[in-house]
C-alpha cells in the first residue's frame, strides 16, 4: 500500500493551520471595548433565546401537570396538579389502569424499544446519506466527466419533488421488497441520498482550492483515497453539520414511519407519541404524557449534539495554504 506522500509543508498547514496574522483560528477578533453594536447584538440574541426556550419551559410545566387539572389552570405558569404521571406514562412505567385513570391512553408504551428503534433508523439514515451524498457531491464538484452537469441538474430537480408524490409509490415498493414493518424499510428511501445532502456538500467542496488534490494526485494517490484522507477532513464541519441535521430530521420523521410500521418491533419514538394524541375523535390529548415523551425523545439527540458540537464549530482556516 503506497503511503500518500503529501508535501510536508502542505500537510503541516492542513493539520495546524496558521493564519497570516495573530488571532487564534476559529474565533473572531476580540474588541476590547463595549460597543453599542455589541449591546444590540446581545439583546437580539437574548430575545431569540427567550422565544426559543419559553415553549420548552411550557413543555416541562405541562409534563409535570395532570390532565384533570389542566383545563382549570390553563394559563398558570407553574405546573398544575403536580404529578410525575406524565413521565411515568412516557417511560411506560404506568399500568394501563393508572394510565387511563390519569387521562392517558391505556396503550402499552415500550420506551426502551422505541428509543432503540429510533436510534437504529436515524443512524442508518445518517451514515448512509452523508457518506453516499458526499461521494456523489465530490464527483459533481471536483471531477470533470461527460454528462456531469446533466446528472447533477437531475439530482437537483429531485429537490422540487413534493414529498406526497413519493410517499405512496415508495410505500408500495417497500411492501414489494418485503420490508414493511421493518426498520430498514423505514430507513431505505433516504438512506442513499437526498438531493439536499448532495447539494449541500457540493457547495462546500466547491470552496476548496484544487491545488491540494492536484498535489495528492501527482503523488499517485487515487481519487478515493484523496477523498477520504484529505478532502473530507477539510470539510469536516460541514459533514458534522449535515450529520446532525440529518439525524434530527430522521429522528422526527412521522408520516413515513407511520405508514411502514405496524407493530412494536418497528415502531419509532415519534409514532409512540401518537399514543398521547387524541385517541377518539372528540377527546383531549394526554398533554402531560405527550410533553414528557417529547422531552425524553429530544434528550438522546441533545446528547449527540453535545458530543459533536465541537466538530460543528471548529473550522479549519484556509488562510495558511496559499
Amino acid at each position: 500500500m503506497n503511503a500518500i506522500t503529501v508535501d510536508p509543508d502542505l500537510r503541516d498547514n492542513l493539520e495546524h493551520p496558521e493564519p497570516a496574522t495573530t488571532p487564534p483560528s476559529g474565533s473572531g477578533p476580540r474588541p476590547r471595548r463595549f460597543t453599542w453594536g455589541k449591546a444590540v447584538g446581545w439583546a437580539v440574541m437574548i430575545v431569540m433565546i427567550v422565544i426559543t426556550l419559553v415553549p420548552f419551559y411550557w413543555m416541562l410545566r405541562t409534563a409535570l401537570s395532570s390532565n384533570s387539572a389542566l383545563p382549570g389552570g390553563a394559563a398558570d405558569p407553574l405546573p398544575v396538579g403536580f404529578s410525575w404521571g406524565g413521565f411515568e406514562r412516557a417511560l411506560g412505567l404506568a399500568t394501563p389502569q393508572e394510565s387511563l385513570a390519569a387521562g392517558g391512553s391505556g396503550a402499552a408504551m415500550n420506551f426502551g424499544r422505541y428509543l432503540a428503534n429510533s436510534v437504529a433508523v436515524a443512524t442508518m439514515v445518517t451514515v448512509g446519506q452523508v457518506l453516499f451524498s458526499a461521494l456523489a457531491a465530490y464527483a459533481f464538484s471536483r471531477m470533470r466527466w461527460p454528462g456531469r452537469d446533466v446528472v447533477f441538474a437531475a439530482f437537483l430537480g429531485g429537490l422540487m419533488v413534493p414529498t406526497i408524490f413519493t410517499l405512496l409509490p415508495n410505500f408500495l415498493l417497500v411492501r414489494d421488497l418485503g420490508l414493511l414493518d421493518t426498520l430498514p424499510g423505514i430507513a431505505l428511501p433516504t438512506m442513499l441520498m437526498t438531493p439536499f445532502a448532495v447539494f449541500f456538500m457540493r457547495q462546500f467542496f466547491m470552496g476548496i482550492s484544487t491545488e491540494i488534490e492536484e498535489a495528492a494526485m501527482l503523488d499517485g494517490a487515487s481519487r478515493i483515497r484523496t477523498f477520504f484522507s484529505i478532502i473530507v477532513p477539510m470539510v469536516s464541519s460541514a459533514v458534522a453539520t449535515l450529520g446532525i441535521l440529518t439525524y434530527i430530521t430522521s429522528w422526527n420523521d412521522y408520516l413515513w414511519p407511520l405508514l411502514v410500521s405496524q407493530t412494536d418491533g418497528s415502531r419509532v419514538l415519534t409514532l409512540a407519541l401518537g399514543i398521547f394524541r387524541a385517541q377518539s375523535p372528540q377527546s383531549a390529548p394526554d398533554w402531560p404524557g405527550l410533553m414528557a415523551a417529547t422531552l425524553l425523545a429530544a434528550l438522546p439527540v441533545l446528547v449527540l449534539y453535545a458530543c459533536f458540537a465541537k466538530r460543528i464549530v471548529n473550522s479549519i482556516g484556509f488562510s495558511g495554504i496559499k
Binding site: G41, M45, M59, W145, F155, L192, S319
Partner: protein, 313 residues
C-alpha cells in the same frame, strides 16, 4: 465552477482529433460513476421512479383502491376550475413569502451573531433545540400556548391590558401564526446551515477589514454577504421548497381552517388523496402542478443568486 488550475497539465491539452470531452474527462468517468453509484440508485429508485409514476397517474382516474385508466387531461382541466385549489395556491404563496422572509433574515442575523459575537457552544445548542421537537408536537404545543381563551400568551397579553389575539382561529392571523410556528422550529436549523457557510470565510479577512477601520456592518455588507452568496442561495432554495410543502403544522393545528383560510396546497392534496375522495389521479395532477411551480421558482432563484459559483475558490 471550480477555480482554474495553476499549472497546465499535458493531458489537458486539446487532443488532435475533435472530441467533446477531453481525454482526462473521459478517464474520470469510471471513477466518477463509482462515486455517484449509490446516490444514483437511491435517486432513481426512490425519487425518479415515483415521480414518473406520479406523473403517469395524473393522467388517469386511479383511486386509492382501484387502478384507473388513462383519462387524458381531465384532471388538469378540473384543476384549473377548482376554486379551492387555486385558493390554496394563493394561501401557500402568502405563507411562503412570510415564512421565507422572516426565516432567512432572522437566520442570517443569528448566524452572523453566532459567528462574530460569541462562540459559545451552549448558545448554538440552545438555538437548535426547537428542531429537536417534531413538527407535530410543535404544532400542538403552540395550539395550546396561543389559544385565545386558555393560552398562556393571551393571558400575558391580557395582563398587559391589550386585546387578546385570535391566532389560529382568525382567518387573517392564521397564516402568519403558522409561519411563526415554523420559523420558531426551523430557525436554528437554517442558522446552522448559514453558519457552516460562514465558517469557510477566513478570519484574516475580518482582521484585515478591522485594521482598515471598517465597522461590523460594513464588513457584513461588503465581505460576509458576497462570500456567503452560494450558501445563502442554497439555504434560500431549500427553505423555499420546504415552505411550499408545509403540511404538518396545518394538519395538526388548523386542518386547513378556519374556512379554508389555511388550506395550503400540500394539505389539500393529502386530503383529496387520503380522506376526501381517495382520488389519486387528481391528487397527482395537483402534485405535478406544484412540482412545476417549485421547479420554476428554484430555477429563478438559482439564477438570481448564482448559487452555482463560489467567490472563494
Amino acid at each position: 465552477m471550480t477555480g482554474a488550475t495553476t499549472a497546465p497539465r499535458a493531458d489537458l491539452a486539446r487532443p488532435a482529433r475533435r472530441s467533446r470531452y477531453s481525454r482526462m474527462e473521459k478517464r474520470n468517468l469510471p471513477t466518477a460513476l463509482l462515486f455517484i453509484a449509490p446516490a444514483s440508485i437511491g435517486y432513481a429508485v426512490f425519487l425518479l421512479w415515483p415521480t414518473l409514476r406520479g406523473i403517469y397517474l395524473s393522467f388517469t382516474d386511479t383511486t386509492a383502491f382501484n387502478a384507473g385508466e388513462l383519462v387524458g387531461l381531465e384532471n388538469y382541466e378540473r384543476m384549473l376550475t377548482d376554486g379551492v385549489f387555486l385558493d390554496s395556491f394563493r394561501v401557500t404563496l402568502y405563507y411562503v413569502l412570510l415564512n421565507i422572509g422572516l426565516q432567512t433574515v432572522l437566520a442570517l442575523v443569528v448566524a452572523v451573531l453566532m459567528h462574530r459575537l460569541t462562540q459559545s457552544l451552549v448558545i448554538r445548542g440552545l438555538l437548535l433545540t426547537p428542531y429537536l421537537v417534531s413538527n407535530v408536537v410543535a404544532a400542538m404545543l403552540f395550539l395550546m400556548l396561543l389559544d385565545y381563551q386558555l393560552g398562556f400568551v393571551n393571558a400575558v397579553i391580557d395582563t398587559l391590558g391589550l386585546d387578546r389575539l385570535m391566532f389560529f382561529g382568525s382567518q387573517d392571523l392564521v397564516i402568519p401564526t403558522v409561519a411563526f410556528v415554523n420559523v420558531w422550529r426551523h430557525l436554528g436549523y437554517t442558522a446552522l446551515l448559514i453558519f457552516a457557510g460562514l465558517q469557510t470565510i477566513p478570519d484574516n479577512l475580518y482582521e484585515a477589514g478591522r485594521m482598515d477601520g471598517a465597522s461590523e456592518l460594513t464588513m457584513f455588507r461588503r465581505l460576509t454577504l458576497p462570500l456567503l452568496r452560494p450558501y445563502l442561495g442554497l439555504v434560500l432554495i431549500v427553505t423555499m421548497i420546504g415552505s411550499f410543502q408545509v403540511f404538518d403544522t396545518v394538519s395538526v393545528a388548523t386542518q386547513g381552517g378556519p374556512a379554508n383560510s389555511s388550506n395550503v396546497i400540500q394539505y389539500y392534496i393529502y386530503e383529496v388523496a387520503f380522506s376526501r375522495s381517495y382520488d389519486f389521479g387528481y391528487a397527482s395532477a395537483m402534485s405535478v402542478a406544484l412540482l412545476v411551480v417549485l421547479a420554476a421558482v428554484s430555477i429563478l432563484q438559482f439564477r438570481l443568486t448564482r448559487a452555482n459559483t463560489n467567490d472563494m475558490a
